[in-house]
Amino acid sequence: MKHKDKVANRLALLEGVNFSQAYLDAIAAEIEDLDRIVAELEEFAQSTPWVSQQSQSRGSKA
């Protein structure tokens, strides 16, 4: 997928809120960071178990 499309896809997740162009530009810059981070974390987290922890047991004591 083209980079421009990736950003557009993410902006579509903002649920139709109307923003100024300047605001969208600022978000787009941060979204570029986000894509890089996700890629780094995906690589880092490979072979780590999926988190399956339930909520705290009421019976446990600190």
Binding site: L41, F44, W50, A62
Partner: protein, 473 residues
Amino acid sequence: MMAGADICELNLAELSKLLAARDLSSSEAVMAALTRLERLDGKLNAFITVPGEQAIAEAKKADDEIARGRYRGPLHGIPVTIKDLFETAGVRTTAGSKILADWVPQTDSAVGERLRAAGAIIIGKTNLDEFGHGGTSTLSHFGPVHNPWNPERIAGGSSGGSAAAVAAGIGPLSYGTETGSSVRRPASYCGIVGFKPTFGVISRTGSFRGAWSQDHVGLFARSVKDITLGLDPVAGFDARDPASVHQDTAAYTARLDANVKQLKIGILRRFLEGVNHEVRQAFDTGLEVFAGAECEIIDLDVPEVSYAAMTSMMTSSAESAGINRQWFRERHQDFVPHVSRGIAVGMTITASEYLTVQRARHRIREALRRAYDRVDIIASPTTARAAPLISDAVKGNGDDTRHASYNHSNLLRFPSMLGLPGCSLPCGINTEGLPMGIQLIGSWFADQIVLNAALAFQNATDWHTRWPAIARA
């Protein structure tokens, strides 16, 4: 009769001893704190709401109770402050936001309930980054908090108003919250003690969420003993908070013990690169204090921690977007712009990406779990530099990055992300007259070990006894 200025310089332990003996009244203590607040808050902007008349009335009631022999304990009649993220019945709670500028809750937060039960007098609601989203306390609808050591500097955030208040002697104790570093960072920048316990020790009921899986309640004071005196009444199980844990009746004060002989202190040296040289020097001198107390200093290498900052920031970004989703849709223009952008970015994180981030978090947690098999405490400089200028705003903190790196912000971020207990203590004053801090991070539920180590450090140093000039002007 003691002068108001002198009363404000008493720490909590001293003040409560005088109140219990009726050598000083709660009314005098509360008036002294309110007078100082009125004198200094034009310069600090540490407070959003000051329920002064209510506080004076409650102080009178506390005096009556103490006179009748109904003394409730060390917080009875003590003037305290709380971050304006905690709901207070009948007193507006803004969370630093225009959205809630006029909101008056009908009930107290769990912390508020417990403080009132302990007889504490809430004299003010402190300023913060909007909804706790920030590390500077400049991102408030009510304007930036100024550092008492130099009003051109930030107090740190998001609990900056609480830290500034304690540093300036406006009440000896304040309660804040921490999602990333919002207790330890402002404590370090303001030259006081900041402590956040293990995740689940203090209930978060009735406090606004920054990110539910990382939010903690924490405390600020000028001594470690004051921290434990403030911790004992508010720690405990609360079924209303899903993260709350069953625990024995809190007795952190009774169990304080400065003997730390043979304590193992780990250092993650690779993350100290880039730390300001004065901060590094103060930290190294601080380590000598522990070495002198016959602690064992151990070098640790936990490379997984280099992913802590971005994992923590991605988690809080996604969770805060979930929490603020409706307000964002309806009133995004009413958020502070930087906070609004952060929520917008969080809303673009997909569920599968969030789960990937949680896998990364799990990997870091397990690496730290193994590290704590070897050491009792991990020590580091709390922040990489002293308080930056307000004019440098968010960038001044130097850690607004989500990239993997070997930088210090990973050390600031991993404790809250993993729910570990942490304490920041003043460990020096730099050549610009700004405080610097050392942080001690324990394993899960090793809160007492952290507090004992902090006490040992404080007994051997006098940095916590220094006051900013503004407090004495």
